[in-house]
C-alpha cells in the first residue's frame, strides 16, 4: 500500500510539472495584448485581434531569429 501511494504521489508530481511547463511554454509563445500595434494612415492606432497578432508575432520571431 505504501509503495502504491508513493508511486501515486510521484505520478501526480510528474503530471503537475508537465502541466506547469506546458502552460509556461504556451504563455511565452502567445501574443499578448499590446504586443502588436499598427498605426493606420488615417491616424488611428489599431491592435489586431489575437489570431492576427499571433501571426505578426510568429513572423517577427522568425525575422529576429535569422537576423542574429
Amino acid at each position: 500500500m505504501r509503495k502504491f501511494l508513493g508511486r501515486l504521489v510521484f505520478l501526480g508530481a510528474v503530471a503537475g510539472a508537465v502541466l506547469v511547463l506546458r502552460n509556461y511554454l504556451q504563455d511565452s509563445a502567445a501574443a499578448k495584448r499590446g504586443d502588436v500595434q499598427v498605426v493606420v494612415d488615417t491616424g488611428a492606432t489599431v491592435e489586431p485581434g489575437s489570431a492576427e497578432a499571433q501571426e505578426f508575432v510568429d513572423i517577427a520571431r522568425k525575422v529576429l531569429e535569422i537576423s542574429g
Partner: protein
C-alpha cells in the same frame, strides 16, 4: 552589399547605416520595395537576405491588410514585440517600407522617432522628394537629445 538594381542603393545603405549609428538599439535595418524585394539593408554577413526580406515583406503585407480592414489605405508604422526583441516598420511613400529589428529592451519610442526622422532622407534618395519628418508622436522619449 548591393541589392536589387535600384539606383542609389549605396546612398540608401548610407542612410540606414547612419540610422543605426544614431540609434544604437537598432540591430538591423532594411528598406523593402512594395513588392517585397530588399532595396538595401545593414544585415551582417551570413544572414539569408532573401529569407529575411521575404519575412519582412510578409509582415508589411499583414500590416497593410490590417490598415485596409480599419478604413485606411496603408500603415504609417507598425511595431511587433516578441520575446527576442522588436520588429518595427515605417511605411514610406510609394509603398516602400523601412524595417528595423531591436533587442527586447530597446526604447521603442526613441527608435521609431529616429526612423521617422530618417524617412525624409530615404524618400529623397528613393526619388519621392524631400518630405519633412512626421510630427513626433506621443511615444517619443526626449526627442531633443536625438538631433545630431
Amino acid at each position: 552589399m548591393a541589392e536589387g538594381d535600384a539606383t542609389g542603393v549605396g546612398e540608401l545603405e548610407g542612410v540606414l547605416e547612419n540610422l543605426r549609428a544614431l540609434s544604437g538599439e537598432i540591430t538591423t535595418a532594411a528598406v523593402l520595395s512594395e513588392g517585397g524585394e530588399s532595396r538595401a539593408s545593414t544585415l551582417p554577413p551570413g544572414v539569408d537576405r532573401e529569407r529575411h526580406a521575404a519575412m519582412l515583406a510578409a509582415l508589411a503585407g499583414i500590416a497593410r491588410r490590417t490598415a485596409r480592414e480599419n478604413g485606411g489605405s496603408g500603415f504609417t508604422q507598425a511595431r511587433i514585440r516578441a520575446e527576442e526583441g522588436h520588429v518595427l516598420l515605417v511605411g514610406l511613400e510609394g509603398g516602400e517600407t523601412l524595417a528595423v529589428t531591436t533587442g527586447p529592451d530597446a526604447r521603442v519610442g526613441l527608435v521609431l522617432y529616429d526612423m521617422r526622422n530618417a524617412r525624409g532622407e530615404l524618400q529623397r534618395v528613393l526619388g519621392y522628394g524631400d518630405s519633412e519628418p512626421d510630427d513626433v508622436g506621443s511615444e517619443t522619449e526626449g526627442p531633443g537629445e536625438r538631433k545630431q
